[in-house]
Amino acid sequence: MIEQLRYVRLVVEEIGQAAAFAQDVLGLEPVDRTEQIATFRSDFRDHTLVFSKGIDTHQSLGLEVRYPADLDDLRSKLGSLGIAAQAGSPQECELRKAKAMLWFEDFSGNRLELVVRPMNSGWRYFASRDAGITGLEDVIIRSTSVERDISIWCEVFGAKVSDWAGDAVYLRFDGAHHRIALFPAERAGILAVEYAVENVNLLMRNYYVLQNRQIGILHGPGRRPASEQLFLTFAGPGDVLFSFVSEGAAFDERRIPRQFPAGKEGLCGWGSECKIPEFGGNTDGGGRERTASA
C-alpha cells in the first residue's frame, strides 16, 4: 500500500540556522525558501526535508500512496483501529506539492501524512556540498507503544517486520531492509532522519568534515548488525538527529525476522560510542571519548 518515503517536515524556532545546517552540514540542495519555510532536495523527489515556522504545528512524516482511492481505503482501515484520519486541505496539499492527502496521528502521537502524486523533480539533484548523498533512506521514529504502532504499519500499510533490536523494530515495505524503525521512547517524535551516501569513503569523509565543524556526533561511525548499514548519527536542529548511512544488505525474503540485543550491543557491531538515550547510550558524558586524528 505504501509506495515510498517522501518527506520529513520539521518545526523549528529559527529557519535560517536550520537551513544553514541542511545546506552546509547535510549538503542538501535548497528548493523553496520563504520566511516561514525552507525545503531541500536530496534525490529525485522535489523535496525530502522541510523546516517550517508558523505553518505546521507538529512535525510529520510523508509517505506516498498510489491512488486517491487508496486514501479512502486507508481511512476506513485506520478507523477500524480507532484512528480518525482527516483529509488534507487544498492548501496543505499545495504546500506538499501533492494531489491529495490524508493525515492522522499514530498511537504515540506521531503525525503521519499519506500523499498521492507528490512532485518529483525534473532536474537532477545537485548537492550544496559533496557529501555524496544519494537519497532519503529511512526514518527512525519514537514510539510510546511499539506493539500498537506496529499494527498500523503492518495491518494497515502492509509493511513487514525485518528484524528486532530489543523492543525496537525495523519495518520494510520495499526491497530495502527497512524504511522505518520504531524505537521505544517516553514520548513521540522523529528520532533520526537518515540519508544514504554513496559508500564507506563518503561516510568516513563526512565523519571528518563533521568533526572539523564541531558537529556533535552521537553514535558511530558504526555498522548495524541487523541491516548491515554503516551509520554516522549526529545532532541536527531542534531535537531531531540526522544520519549518514551506507551499504547495508537487501532483505532476504526467505528468512524470518531476527531478534538482536537491545541498546548499543544490538545497534553497532563495531562497539562505537553511543550518546542517544533511546539507543541505550550515555547522555551524561560518560564513556570514553574516541579521538580520531582529525
Partner: protein, 285 residues
C-alpha cells in the same frame, strides 16, 4: 641482486618485556608462540613467529626478509661485502631461536639492522589471537631513512624492490604483488618506523579503533584510507613509542610492465583520503 621473497619478522628490544608482551597479546591480538628467559616470540599467521620482543635496548631493532635458496644467502653476503656492508653469519643457536635454517645479518645505508633468512619455519597449527582482532598476518614495515634517495637505490638496485608510489620523498616499495612491503620514511634516525598487520576487513579496523580507544591506547593516525595503496588503516602507539598499524584492502600490483609509480603530496592528503591527520612524526612536515 638480492632477491627478497617476503618479510619474515621483526625483533624489538624492550626494557619491560612483561609490559610489551601484555600489549602484543591483549591489545594487538597476537598469540605467544614460544618464549625463552629473556624473549617472547609472537605468532600472527601461519608462520612460527613474526614478532619477537627481547630484553634489551628499545633502539635495538631488526627486520628480517626471506630468501629462496641457501645460495641466495651466500650471493647476498658476497654482494654486500663488495659494496662495503659488513656481513655477519648467524650462529646455529641464533638460527634455532629464530626458527630458521640459516641467516646473515647486515645494516642498510641508514644503519637499520637487516637479516636475511633461509627456510623460516611455518607452524602446523594456525594462528589464534588472544582477542578477535581479525589479523590475517604480519605484512609490512616502515623503515627510517636518513637519505631517502640513497636508500631507495639500495633497496631497488642492490635488492629487488620496486617503487609502487612516493609520498613526498618517502618511497613505498614492493617485493611481490603487494603494493608495499617496505616503506622508507625520511627522518634523523635508524630504526623501524612502523609495523603493519593486515586484518580481514574494514570492519575489523573500526572495531579495533573502538576497542583500543576504550583501553586508552594512543591513536596516532586514523581511522583512514590511504590514497596510495587504497588500504583502510589505523595507527596506534605500542611500547617504547613503536607505531603499529592495522590495515585492510591493500592494492595488488599484478602487471609489472604497465604499472607506473605515482607521486603523492607529503601531507595529510597524501596519507589519507578521508581527512584524518597524522600525529606521527615521520608523516608530518
Amino acid at each position: 641482486m638480492i632477491r627478497l621473497q617476503d618479510i619474515s619478522y621483526v625483533r624489538l628490544g624492550t626494557a619491560d618485556l612483561e609490559g610489551a608482551t601484555n600489549f602484543a597479546t591483549s591489545c594487538l591480538g597476537l598469540e605467544i608462540a614460544f618464549q625463552t628467559k629473556d624473549s617472547v616470540y609472537f605468532k600472527s599467521d601461519q608462520r612460527e613467529h613474526t614478532l619477537c620482543y627481547f630484553t634489551g635496548s628499545p633502539a635495538d631493532q631488526t627486520a628480517a626478509f626471506e630468501v629462496a635458496e641457501k645460495s641466495d644467502l651466500e650471493a647476498a653476503a658476497a654482494e654486500l661485502d663488495r659494496i662495503g656492508h659488513p656481513v655477519r653469519v648467524g650462529t646455529e643457536k641464533e638460527a634455532e631461536l629464530r626458527r630458521v635454517r640459516s641467516f646473515i645479518a647486515f645494516t642498510d645505508p641508514t644503519g637499520n639492522n637487516i637479516e636475511l633468512v633461509w627456510r623460516p619455519a611455518y607452524g602446523s597449527r594456525r594462528y589464534h589471537g588472544e582477542r578477535d582482532a581479525g589479523i590475517t598476518g604480519f605484512s609490512h614495515i616502515g623503515l627510517c631513512t636518513t637519505d631517502a634517495a640513497r636508500d631507495e637505490v639500495f633497496w631497488t638496485k642492490v635488492c629487488n624492490a620496486r617503487v609502487s608510489d612516493r609520498i613526498g620523498d618517502a618511497a613505498l616499495l614492493r617485493i611481490d604483488e603487494v603494493h608495499h612491503t617496505i616503506a622508507l620514511f625520511p627522518t634523523n634516525r635508524a630504526g623501524i618506523q612502523h609495523i603493519n598487520h593486515q586484518v580481514e576487513s574494514g570492519d575489523d579496523v573500526m572495531r579495533s579503533f573502538n576497542f583500543l580507544s576504550e583501553r586508552q591506547v594512543p591513536m596516532v593516525f586514523g581511522p583512514g584510507r590511504h590514497p596510495t595503496s587504497s588500504a583502510r588503516f589505523l595507527y596506534f602507539e605500542g611500547p617504547d613509542g613503536m607505531v603499529f598499524e592495522y590495515s585492510s584492502g591493500v592494492r595488488s600490483i599484478a602487471d609489472e610492465l604497465l604499472y607506473r609509480e605515482r607521486q603523492f603530496p607529503f601531507g595529510p592528503k597524501g596519507f589519507c583520503e578521508w581527512g584524518a591527520k597524522p600525529q606521527i612524526k615521520e608523516f608530518r612536515n
